[in-house]
Amino acid sequence: MSVALHEEHAHDPAHIRKVAMWVFLGSECLLFGTLISTFLLYRTRTGSGPTAADVFDIPFTSVSSFILLMSSLTMVLAHHSSVRKDYRQMRLWLVATALLGVTFLAGQVFEFTEFVHEGLTVTTSPFGSSFFVLTSFHGAHVAVGVLMLLVTALMSFTGKWRPDAGMDVELVGLYWHFVDIVWIVIFTVVYLLQV
């Protein structure tokens, strides 16, 4: 009896989880929306500290943004391989996506260190507070995404893994693309429009 297709009127568990992920991402939009609004209110309140134009290094951040965007491409490739049930390829692309994410994070750490050396910290001014809290909140999302990617890649080695079980690749992908899109907004609004 146990594995009988359960008749819950085509309540496909994968579909249900996807709906939930979309709903959750809707909520996330408001988190980032509030942080970005705070930043926009405080973008010029630099007090005696450095301004956006003083610290931002647009070429550097453009490169790290490009790296993060490329990770969306590898994510698509990972999902594509999982649909084709080519799990070797899928793992490869998952790990590649995670590596690109880690590279982005490393860039962020470097950038933060530079800013601190130039005298902008989280306590310098409302500009500093809102900049660091917004970008590190996004960074934390990337880190969680990297963790999910690696766990998914690892889980695919175990017998327990089915493509529709647990954190399936599509769900991780939805989350990852969302985090990337948010970065496009942050890069435009927080970096490009402020210098």
């Binding site: 939930a20 909520s27 007090g47």
Partner: protein, 610 residues
């Protein structure tokens, strides 16, 4: 683990993933906090009973009014609504459980962790004392006490619990409805629960960020709300009320849903203008995000903003008024039975109209500037939150009690409860209109003699004890019913919706066969049809025997949700006492991760049950 261990006592409740048991847990917890919040209120009223009250110090008074509001909003009305939603939403839409049963259990246990965390603060250096709204700089000034850290973190984690259950409910509604249960056929209570879930989903993240910023201002020295370093305390007011006003509708819409179920049942008529009631609920949900600044008319927003928010505030009265008239239309010409649930619903309409009208007076900016921070406002929101939300929830309790417990609450004691509560409520809060218009400010722990405030304050205090007495009557009814209550049968009220088609209490899997829905108020139409004159006639045809169905998969019990949330509790405590608390933060994080990891590795369902 053996099957018997799963089913034993406390362990069974601790590990349950059944939406009905979780609903009961929410309900009992909410009732416990209702007593706590009520006692806080009684202390406040005792202090204010006479001029120059001596019972509380200013400091204790600040803690009590802050915690009274925080408790009643986050630990009583919200979880009471969550209790009824948990228990009945899946049944009303013909599902066997919510979409994510273990996430549902996790939401509950996170809520418990947050509630305990807030309450623990009373015993370690004092409870939060900066108001439930936590205006900066009251919430951000760093003193030697950590009270507002408890508040910021406690609300944060309660918000997490609500967001998770909102995701769960929304997913349930959009993916788990029985065949034929189109969205517009959903019972109005299910609809209002859905609207509430969306409101929480989109409003809580705003306060989440606000609270994070408060916490960082306090503990990391950021300058979000510190005017000295260039921050803007008014930003906090915007963020708080962008959450806080939708929150008002989070509190009232479930009660409106309940009333929309109770009135048709006890008037033996379908809900008048059903789709209008649903759409006005949705309209309230949307417009609820556009009125927040009417809480800030004295903050100096400027004439344009004040005029705009004055208008939106008047506009939002329209869908609310639509609902009132639809309810009146439902009762009109019905064969009314004045059972206790009906009394509470009628009481709801009466009191909510008063509270709604005094609310509309706040949309007039100059008048609001006079009333701001006076007892007039206190009177207004207690009419909508006590007269509205609490009466609606009691209506739901009396209505669904027989379904949940299998026994009918006593009608005579129920009526006594209603009248005592109704009289007590009006004695307490009606005088506050007068006190407020006479200029008595809120949140002050004393008033001087000879200001003309003595009489009405005393009356309000007498009223508050009348409410307390009515609650004791309810508990007596509860106890008496548990001991000697009449068995209710499956359908004691001649109900209209699916929950009355199954046994009382419902089986663990809710429906032996998932129902196929053919119309609104489906169960009613299975029982009655109309003759030429338009009167209801009992259907005589015996429904055909239900077809056999495949195995029913129920979610397994799991202790991981409770484990993970206990980790969150430890983590929160650690965050209050930084930097040494980092040890507890680490330990709590490990336990939480352990819980979440174990949870994700666990098989999903217990084997068949049918």
């Amino acid at each position: 683990m053996t099957e018997t261990a799963h089913h034993r006592g406390m362990w069974r409740w601790l590990t349950t993933t059944d939406h009905k048991k979780i609903g009961i847990l929410y309900g009992i917890t909410a009732m416990g906090f209702f007593v706590v919040g009520g006692i806080e209120a009684l202390f406040i009223r005792l202090q204010l009973a006479t001029p120059n009250g001596e019972i509380l110090s200013a400091d204790a008074y600040n803690q009590l009014f802050t915690m009274h509001a925080t408790t009643m909003v986050f630990l009583v009305v919200m979880p009471a609504a969550a209790a009824l939603t948990n228990y009945f939403l899946p049944i009303l839409i013909g599902a066997r459980d919510v979409a994510f049963p273990r996430l549902n259990a996790f939401s509950y246990w996170v809520f418990v962790a947050g509630g305990l965390f807030l309450t623990v603060s009373f015993f370690v250096g004092g409870a939060p004392d900066g108001g439930w709204f936590g205006y900066a700089p009251l919430s951000t000034q760093v003193t030697e006490v950590v009270r507002m850290d408890y508040w910021a973190l406690g609300l944060q984690v309660l918000g997490l619990a609500s967001v998770l259950s909102s995701v769960n409910f929304i997913t349930t509604v959009f993916t788990m409805r029985a065949p034929g249960m189109s969205l517009m056929r959903m019972p109005v209570f299910a609809w209002m629960a859905t609207v509430v879930s969306f409101l929480l989903l989109f409003s809580l993240p705003i306060i989440t960020i606000g609270l994070l910023q408060v916490f960082l201002d306090r503990n990391l020295g950021t300058g979000f709300y510190s005017a000295a370093s260039g921050g803007d305390p008014v930003l906090w007011q915007h963020l708080f009320w962008l959450f806080g006003h939708p929150e008002v509708y989070v509190l009232i819409l479930p009660a409106m849903g309940i009333v929309s179920e109770v009135l048709p049942t006890f008037s033996r008529k379908p809900l008048f203008g059903r789709s209008f009631v649903i759409f006005s609920g949705i309209a309230i949900g949307f417009m609820g995000f556009g009125v927040w600044a009417h809480h800030m008319f004295t903050a100096g927003l400027g004439p344009v903003a004040e005029a705009a928010f004055s208008l939106t505030t008047m506009f939002i009265a329209v869908p609310t008024g639509v609902k009132i008239f639809n309810w009146l239309g439902t009762i009109w010409g019905g064969s009314i039975r004045l059972k206790t649930p009906m009394l509470f619903s009628l009481g709801f309409i009466f009191l909510f109209v008063i509270g709604g009208l005094s609310g509309v007076t706040h949309s007039i900016v100059p008048s609001d500037a006079q009333q701001h921070d006076t007892y007039y406002v206190v009177a207004h929101f207690h009419y909508v939150l006590f007269g509205g939300a609490v009466f609606g929830i009691f209506s739901g309790l009396y209505y669904w009690w027989p379904k949940v417990t299998g026994k009918l609450l006593n009608e005579r004691i129920g009526r006594l409860h209603f009248w005592l509560m109704f009289i007590g409520m009006n004695l307490t809060f009606a005088p506050m209109h007068i006190l407020g218009l006479n200029g008595m400010p809120r949140r002050t722990y004393r008033y001087a003699e000879g200001l003309g405030l003595d009489l009405w304050n005393l009356v309000a205090t007498i009223g508050s004890f009348t409410i307390a007495a009515s609650l004791l009557v309810f508990f007596w009814n509860w106890y008496r019913t548990a001991k000697h209550g009449q068995p209710a049968g499956d359908d004691p009220w001649d109900g209209r919706t699916l929950e009355w088609s199954i046994s009382s209490p419902p089986p663990e899997h809710n429906f032996d066969v998932i129902p196929v829905v053919h119309s609104e108020d489906d169960f009613w139409h299975r029982k009655y049809t109309e003759n030429e004159a338009g009167h209801a006639v009992t259907v005589t045809a015996v429904p055909s025997a239900p077809a056999a169905e495949g195995p029913i998969h129920l979610p397994s019990p799991s202790y991981y949700p409770a484990l993970a949330s206990s980790g969150i509790f430890v983590l929160l405590l650690g965050l209050v006492y930084l930097p040494w608390g980092l040890i507890a933060v680490g330990a709590g994080a490990v336990v939480t991760m352990w819980g979440l990891f174990g949870w994700s590795m666990e098989p999903l369902t217990r084997e068949d049950h049918g």
